[in-house]
Symmetry: D2
């Protein structure tokens, strides 16, 4: 084993030592919550049109799937405006599913709940 791998291994041990007090599910919802809070503040406010919608969905998906704990991200932006119009992305438009976890998988969700008039983040069974 070369030095770089030894170093990486040692780093992983240090890293893991910070999460020994969490069950797999607790770790999954913690990491999923961090990613969801970051996604919200990273992308809300971006100018968006019907034309650029697909591309922004793809960029958010890539940004999320770049993170080690996220296995898969499904991003849908609910937008119904005229072809030549543009608006700022709001939390209410976002419909996001993040699949997180190592052994078991957990679904972290963000979507607008009409009864609450609120874009809610929760864990879906």
């Amino acid at each position: 084993m070369d030095n770089l791998n030894e170093k990486r291994l040692e780093q992983d041990d240090i890293f893991d030592s910070y999460f020994k007090n969490l069950t797999e599910k607790e770790r999954a919802v913690f990491e999923g919550g961090i990613s969801m809070g970051a996604l919200f503040h990273q992308f809300v406010g971006t100018p968006i049109s019907m034309n650029s919608k697909g591309c922004l969905e793809e960029a958010i998906k890539s940004a999320m799937e770049n993170q080690p704990f996220i296995k898969k991200a499904l991003i849908n932006i609910n937008l119904e405006i005229a072809e030549n119009d543009y608006v700022s992305l709001t939390g209410e438009m976002l419909d996001v599913t993040l699949i997180v976890g190592k052994e078991k998988e957990y679904k972290i969700r963000l979507n607008y709940i009409p009864e609450l008039n609120y874009p809610l983040m929760y864990v879906e069974d």
Copy 2:
């Protein structure tokens, strides 16, 4: 009971129904993770000097404690620059403790870990 209170009660029931699949600890670390991810992306990049450090710490603290699930937030920005200089706030400078939870309390931490060369978010015992 007036109509407004009835409505608020109904909303709380709908709200709570989304979190029945989480233990108290799972809920606490989920909400704490969301707040930590949001804090990071909300404030990293803000111009800061030795003079404005205290005020930014106070603003972050207030923003965090405005959120219903956060009982208390302790914010320290590690900054050592000349009096007349300014830089952009980075994750490495942040030392944050969020106290979350309803009955029991959980400590969500963000601080720079020298061995990892990384600002880590984790749950402290």
Copy 3:
């Protein structure tokens, strides 16, 4: 003159060489525009209450005045909510004046214009 000052001087010359094609007013409104666009995206979305309003105003003011081209920043957040409530800061709430420029001073403004139903950035005489 020591080496550090020589280096700083040389850097300033290189820096200035990029702005020779702008009049003083063009430079002032360019730098003011950058700061205003940055302010908007940096702080919109921050959780705010009546209690934390003053502190956030002060933090935005400090962040702006840390930038070399900004002489003075006046920040007012128009917020009228219940004492125990909190909301996310929106562009509509912001009333900002940035005084920019070296010799002459220019006023860069951001405020909500009711006739346009829009938070407008413009240069005030």
Copy 4:
């Protein structure tokens, strides 16, 4: 002319009245500065890999070209990391050209200047 068009016309008159004190070039560099400051704070921090680079460039380009004053945006992210690695987008990685203006065109630039060790925003001839 129908009512909607009359209203739109009136709004444009009100809008234009705020910019009568700017020459065409002053207006162009002001709007270009706002967009550049916003772009920087909107996208810096986004997780990025070699794989998602193209998609993020396209999303930034679309977001910029959605704004009425921006005629064209050229976005290049300078990134050289391993295929399976990811980092947060920094200002140093961004090479941006915004073509702004109505009659004449002006080039607003953001790119890393090695002599300054700094990602500089300026107006290119």
